[in-house]
Symmetry: C3
Subunit: 346 residues, 3 copies
C-alpha cells in the first residue's frame, strides 16, 4: 500500500545500468533517495524534465541529476543523461521505493466462496470478500475490505487497494491497479420510459479490463447492457472518473480526473483526455486525440488533434457583460449584414 | 448481485403473453436468451428501438425480434410487436436474467444493533453493520460491507450493493436499489463564516428516499440542514451524482452521471437531467424539463422545455480565436451601434 | 455519527449566555429545539439570516428567534440579537444536537497493527483496520469499516465516518472530520510517456491535513509525487471533490461539491470555490478569491475578486443559434473593422 523508502545507497553507475541511462561524470557518487531539485540534499538524485524549472538545476544541492541531452551541458553535476528524463526518474524512484510487498496468504477474516480459486502467492487482506467461481492470480494483492463478486477473473499481480468493489463476472488483466473506492461493474444507466414510469433494463454485459491499467480512487466503470464495457491495456484512469456502459477505451489512453464518458463512446488508442472533460455517448474519438480540460465533446472526432471548448474565468463584472451579449449574437450577424448591404448600395 | 443467465428456453408465444406484447409470426420458436441485433444467433431474441440501427434488422441472425409497429413490416422474422420495444425488451431480459436471489438470513459476521429489527426474509451479507433502532424489511438484501446507521427504515425488497453507507435516521422506500459506494445522509455543506473562521452548522434533517428509486455507484445525497432532503418515487440517479442538502427530486425524474445539484434545489417530476449538468441551489425546475448534458442552470426554470448551455469542442486553434474574441464582444455591440448611427444620419 | 436531539429545554437566557448573544425580550421562555421559521412551533427557536426570508419572521410560530440587529425591530418575539445570526444558530443547534458520543475502546473485530498506538479514549468501530506504526489520538472516533494504513498520524478528536480510507503515512490534524467514502493519499496521477506506453511514477509524498478540516463524502485527496499535498487548518471540502497531488489549499478556504483541482495548484487562504469549478494545475490563486460555480480557472489569479466563466442555460433553440454564431465571431471582428474603414473614408 505504501512505497516506504528502504533501499540502501546505490552508486550512480549502478543506477545508470539498471535504468538504461547514459552516465556522465562521477559514477561512484552514492545515491540513497530521490528528491525535487529544490528539495534535494547530498545523497539525493533529482530530475529536470520541464524547461520551466531549469533555473533550479544551477542551485540544486542534489548529488546527481537526471537530465535530457539538451540540459546536460547546463550542469557540472554527475548525471544520468536520458531521452526521457521523467521516465528515467520513474525507474530510479521505483528502485528506491519498491511497491510494498505483502505476506502471501488469506487473512483469517477473509470470506472466500467455496468454489473460488486463489493462487498460493496471492494476498487477501482483512475483511476481503470473494464470490463463488472467482479466480485470483499469482501475487495478486487484494487489500482490506475489498469485495469481489462471483465469477470474476483477477489476473496475476493485480492490486486492489482497500475497499474496492468488483461486481460479478468482471475481468481484470495482469498487473492492473485499482485504487480505493473504485467500483467496477455496477449496472449501466439503462431504463425504458413507459408512460412516465421507468422500467429497469437488466445490464447483462460485463466489464473487461486489460493488463497494466491503473484506475484511480472512486472511479466507476459500468457493466455493459448486453455486450461488454472494455478498457484496453495500459489505460490510465485518474480519480472520480465515470465510464458508462458499453464504452471502449483504447490502449494507452490516459484520462485525468473527474471526466465523465457516457455509454457506448469508443475512445481511440493513445488519447489524452483532460480533467473534467465530458464526452457524450454513441460516438467515437480517433486515435491520438487530445481533449483539453473541461471540454465538452458531443460529436465524433475523426481527425486526431487538440480539441477545446472551455472558457477561462474572467473577473465577474466582465463576464456578466460577455454573458449578456451572448444572447444577442444572432442579431449582430443580422445587423452587420444590413450595414454591409447598405454600404454596398452606395 | 448479478444477473446470471439461467432460465431455460421459452416459446415466443410464452414471452408475448408474459410481456403483454403482440405476437406476429411463428409463436413456437424457442428463445433462450437476449442479444444485440448484430450479436444474436439462433435461440436469441433482439430488439430494435432506435431507427438508426434499422439496417441491422435485415441482417440479424436472431430467431425473433422485438419491434415497433412501424418496423414490423421491415422483417419477416417471428416478432413481438410493441408500443415501446425497449420497455418490452426490458421485461424479456428480466425473464432470462432475473435479479439474483440470495439466501435469507444474517451472515454470522454481520454486526447488528440489539434494538434493530430485521425481517426474517431479509439478507444481511458478510461484514454488514446495522445500527440501533433500525428496521430492515422483508426480502431486503444488504450486501457485504454495507453500513447502516441508527434509526433507519429500510423497506421491503430494498437492495444495497456492497459497501453502501447509510447515515442515521435515513429512510429508504420499497424496492429501491443503491449501488456500491453510494453515501446517503452525510452532512450537508453547512457552516457559518465567523470573521474568517468557519463554525460548523449541525445538519439535523434526514434523507427520505421513496420507492422504486435507483441510485448509482458513488452517488452522494446529503441529509437536510433542518428539514429533510427528499427523493421521490421512481427517481433514477446514475453514478457520481451529488445531491446537496434540502433538495427535493420529483417523482420519475432521471439524472445522468456526474451531475451536481446544490442545496435546496427543487427539481420537478418527470425531468431529465443530462450528464455533468450543474444546478445551483435555491431554485426550482418545472415538471417535465429537460436539461442537456454539461449545462449550467443558475436560475429557476418555470416553463418545461429543453435547456442547454454547453459549447461543443472545437479544434484548439479555432477555439483560441473564439475565446479571444469573447472578451471584446461588448465593444462589438458599441461599434455596430456607432456604425448604424452614422449610416442613419446619411 | 448522528445528532439525535436529546437535550432538555433551556431558557432563552441560558442560550444567550452560552452563545455569547444579546438577549432581547423574555429570557424565561423555554426552548427545547431548533426549527425553520416556517416549521417552528412552541418551544422552538428559529433564525433569520437571509433577508429574502424576512416575511417568514412575521408569521413564525417559534417561541424565540435569532436575528441580526437590523431585523430585531421587525419582530416582537423574544430574541437573541447577534452580529452573525447564522453562526449563533450554529452554536444553538449544537447545544440541542451535540455530536454523538461513542463508547471509547476498540471493537473486538477491529484489526490493529501490533506497533500501532491507540489512545485509550479513542473509539475504533466494527471492522476498522489500522496499520503498523499508526497513532490515533485521544477521543478520536474511527467508524465501521474505515481502513487506515501504516505510519499515519490521526490526531485527537478526529472523526472518520464509516468506510473512509487513509493510505499510509498520511497525517490528519485535531478535530478534523472525514465523511464516508473519502479517500486520502491514493497515488497522484503520475506517469511518464515512453514511446506510447506509460511508465508509472511512484508517488512518494504524503497527504498532510490540518486541524478543524471537514472533508465531504467520496472526496479524494492524492498523495504528493515527492513533496506533500497539504490541506491547511479550517479548510472545508464538500462531497465528490478531487484534489490532485501536490496541491496546497490555504487555511479557511471552502470548496463546494464536485470541484476538481489538478496537481500543484496553490489555493490561497480564505478562498471560496463554487460547485463544479475546475482548476488546472501548476498555478496559484490569491488569498480571498471567489471562484463562481462551474467556472474554469486555467491561469493564476493574482488579484482577489470574483471570477466566473459559466454560461447559464438557455432554451435549446436559442442556444443552438448562439453556438452556431460562436464559430463566426472572428469574422464579425473583421467585418466590423472593414465597415469602419469604409465609413472612415467617406
Amino acid at each position: 500500500m505504501d512505497r516506504t523508502h528502504h533501499a540502501p545507497g546505490l552508486s550512480l553507475r549502478d543506477l545508470a545500468s539498471r535504468c538504461g541511462a547514459e552516465l556522465s561524470g562521477d559514477g561512484d557518487v552514492m545515491i540513497d533517495r530521490v528528491a525535487t531539485l529544490d528539495g534535494a540534499g547530498p545523497g539525493a538524485i533529482a530530475f529536470l524534465s520541464n524547461p520551466r524549472y531549469r533555473a533550479q538545476l544551477a542551485r540544486t544541492h542534489a548529488s546527481a541529476v537526471i537530465v535530457s541531452m539538451r540540459d546536460a551541458a547546463a550542469t557540472p553535476l554527475p548525471k544520468l543523461v536520458a531521452q526521457n528524463p521523467y521516465a528515467t526518474y520513474a525507474r530510479v524512484a521505483a528502485i528506491f521505493h519498491p511497491a510494498e510487498s505483502t505476506q502471501a496468504g488469506i487473512h483469517p477474516t477473509a470470506v472466500v466462496g467455496a468454489s473460488a480459486r486463489i493462487a498460493p502467492s496471492a494476498t487477501l487482506g482483512a475483511y476481503v470478500v470473494v464470490g463463488e467461481g472467482t479466480t485470483i492470480g499469482e501475487r495478486a494483492r487484494i487489500h482490506a475490505g475489498s469485495v469481489i463478486g462471483d465469477g470474476c477473473q483477477i489476473s496475476e499481480d493485480v492490486v486492489l487497494h482497500p475497499r474496492v468493489v468488483i461486481y460479478a463476472r468482471s475481468s481484470i488483466g495482469a498487473r492492473t491497479v485499482l485504487h480505493s473506492g473504485a467500483v467496477i461493474g455496477a449496472d449501466g444507466f439503462g431504463m425504458a420510459d413507459e408512460q412516465g414510469r421507468w422500467v429497469k433494463v437488466p445490464q447483462i454485459g460485463r466489464v473487461v479490463i486489460g493488463a497494466d491499467v491503473e484506475i484511480g480512487a472512486n472511479t466507476t466503470i459500468d457493466r455493459g447492457a448486453i455486450d461488454d464495457t472494455i478498457i484496453e491495456d495500459d489505460v490510465k484512469l485518474d480519480n472520480q472518473i465515470q465510464i458508462g456502459h458499453n464504452c471502449r477505451i483504447g490502449a494507452h489512453t490516459a484520462i485525468a480526473g473527474c471526466v465523465g464518458i457516457a455509454g457506448s463512446a469508443q475512445i481511440g488508442r493513445n488519447c489524452q483526455i483532460g480533467g473534467a472533460a465530458m464526452i457524450t455517448g454513441h460516438l467515437h474519438i480517433a486515435d491520438g486525440t487530445i481533449i483539453s480540460a473541461a471540454t465538452g465533446v458531443f460529436d465524433s472526432i475523426e481527425t486526431a488533434g487538440v480539441y477545446t471548448s472551455a472558457f477561462p474565468a474572467l473577473p465577474h463584472r466582465e463576464w456578466r457583460h460577455v454573458a449578456s451579449v451572448m444572447r444577442r449574437l444572432r442579431t449582430f450577424a443580422e445587423r452587420i449584414r444590413a450595414l454591409e448591404r447598405r454600404l454596398g448600395r452606395e
